[in-house]
Symmetry: C2
Subunit: 308 residues, 2 copies
């Protein structure tokens, strides 16, 4: 294939991101062979059943041997142990990358295990859905989304460039960023919103005077958008909060500060404060639609179902 | 028409809900004539231009005279003044209803102005989008959504039944509820989620170290779902919080309590607490999809745009 960038790609962990990468790699024709590994036998069986990966390997060593690109697609908390286990089996000249939602912690956990002569280029595709597991992937997941590369200083520029071309072939826009800034930006755009959504859904679930069935029936009034976010993979998100602790706590602090100001305005009946605040937030929505990161169809273009 | 339930429906206020009602009434053929009124000349001009309402009236009095159903579709804070103004022009036997998101405050503001012989049946269609204004309506808005009727004790059962049939003809499921319970349920499923979304979007907007353009570019990681909610009409939402103060503050109190517990778990590195919490919230999402109140397509079925 003319567009081929890697001979053999090894996907470690076969969840939403890895399975989407597989279908996107096949769509783009940018690798000769894609092999996969998952720790659980059940996931490997499912992958084989649905034709996910050209070959599903039973060990980490088998998967990474001979690979010129190894992609770590496991929860952030598992990255270090996986890196340690694969290190002796990596080919010289290979590139190791990852798809973790946190970068500083991944670099600290994985970096020390990378042998000389192997390139380590951390990355983070900003794409996902509320679904998880090997069956949840689809080739279009990265189309028109951003993938952030977080190469260490002194990284091999050819390896970085090749990975950039790879992600672009998978449909993404690519930008480089340093790890600290990445972790702060993601605390704002992703980690704190997820924690808040989890919290709100938890509150609703807890409430004695409003039954579960009422919360579910009447969810269309706003709550259901929170539940989509709060349905995301629990292990992945536990690790995100444990490993991006400082930035998340900082943004949470600002969030509660603002929330208390609005709460006070409600208590005092300060309508002007509320109206001004709510007017300001509208502009951001327009920016996101203009940037092509969402649809302007009402309700995200949810199709109403006919009655009955 | 066989299915006709009212001779003349007057829609007061011509925003998202009223304009959707108009198209849904026409689709269902449940009224002989639908007239509309909006306070602003600009809105009335737009309505005439797009054929919204059989007739657009220039005064409240004109609109309600001869109507057997009057629907108040103005922000909750304006309901009392409108009710007072229309009261002398209401036909005996007519039904006055509303679509406000808060019910106790509307009943207190509107109830005293309703003349003897006129039926007052408060209602709340739990449907909406982030868009507003006379151009934002569409006939399918209420399909498969709930409309809650909140009739006072001793309401005329024939009038209540007719309004129920009307909302069912517009595509909705209908249930009755008392005002206090309505306001609490909505504080959980709608009002508090909206306030939280507004707050998170405000925090992102405020942050100096993360520029607006980064927040917008990388919004797909979770934040953009908040911005949809936070783009809703500021006047409507100001009034909701001012008039459903007690229930909103109560739910906000529970929310911050839970948030602080999760924040503490993050600070202490208590992964088990986080994982258990995040696992529990997944079940609610499944319930909402099974109840037909959302789609199970990933990302609400947003269609990814091809690159370029």
């Amino acid at each position: 294939m003319d567009d081929q960038l890697y001979d053999r790609v090894a996907l470690i962990g076969l969840g939403l991101i890895a399975s989407s990468m597989f279908w996107a790699i096949k769509r783009a024709g940018v690798a000769d062979e894609v092999v996969g590994y998952a720790r659980s036998q059940e996931t490997r069986d499912t992958a084989r059943e649905i034709g996910l990966c050209d070959e599903v390997c039973d060990t980490l060593a088998e998967a990474v041997e001979g690979a010129d690109l190894v992609v770590l697609c496991v929860p952030v908390g598992a990255m270090g142990a996986v890196a340690e286990e694969i290190a002796p089996h990596l080919d010289p000249g290979a590139t190791v990358t990852d798809v973790g939602s946190v970068k500083k912690a991944v670099i600290e956990a994985v970096g020390p295990h990378i042998p000389d002569g192997v390139h380590f280029v951390p990355a983070h595709p900003l794409a996902g859905t509320e679904q998880s597991g090997p069956r949840s992937g689809f080739a279009e997941l990265f189309d028109n989304r951003w993938t952030l590369l977080v190469p260490a200083e002194g990284s091999d520029s050819v390896a970085v460039e090749r990975l950039r071309n790879f992600w672009e072939a998978l449909g993404a826009h690519v930008e480089e960023m340093d790890a600290d800034h990445h972790d702060l930006v993601l605390a704002v755009t992703s980690h704190t919103p997820h924690l808040i959504a989890y919290t709100m859904v938890g509150v609703a679930d807890d409430l004695r005077r409003v039954t579960d069935s009422e919360v579910i029936k009447y969810s269309a009034a706003g709550f259901r958008d929170f539940t989509r976010i709060a349905a995301s993979d629990p292990t992945m998100w536990r690790d995100v909060f444990l490993t991006n602790k400082d930035a998340t706590l900082e943004i949470l602090g600002r969030f509660t500060e603002e929330l208390f100001a609005l709460q006070r305005a409600i208590r005092k009946g300060d309508g002007d404060h509320l109206h001004a605040y709510f007017t300001r937030t509208r502009a951001i929505r327009r920016g996101i639609i203009e940037a092509g990161q969402d649809t302007d169809a009402p309700n995200f273009g949810r199709t109403p179902k006919p009655k009955g």
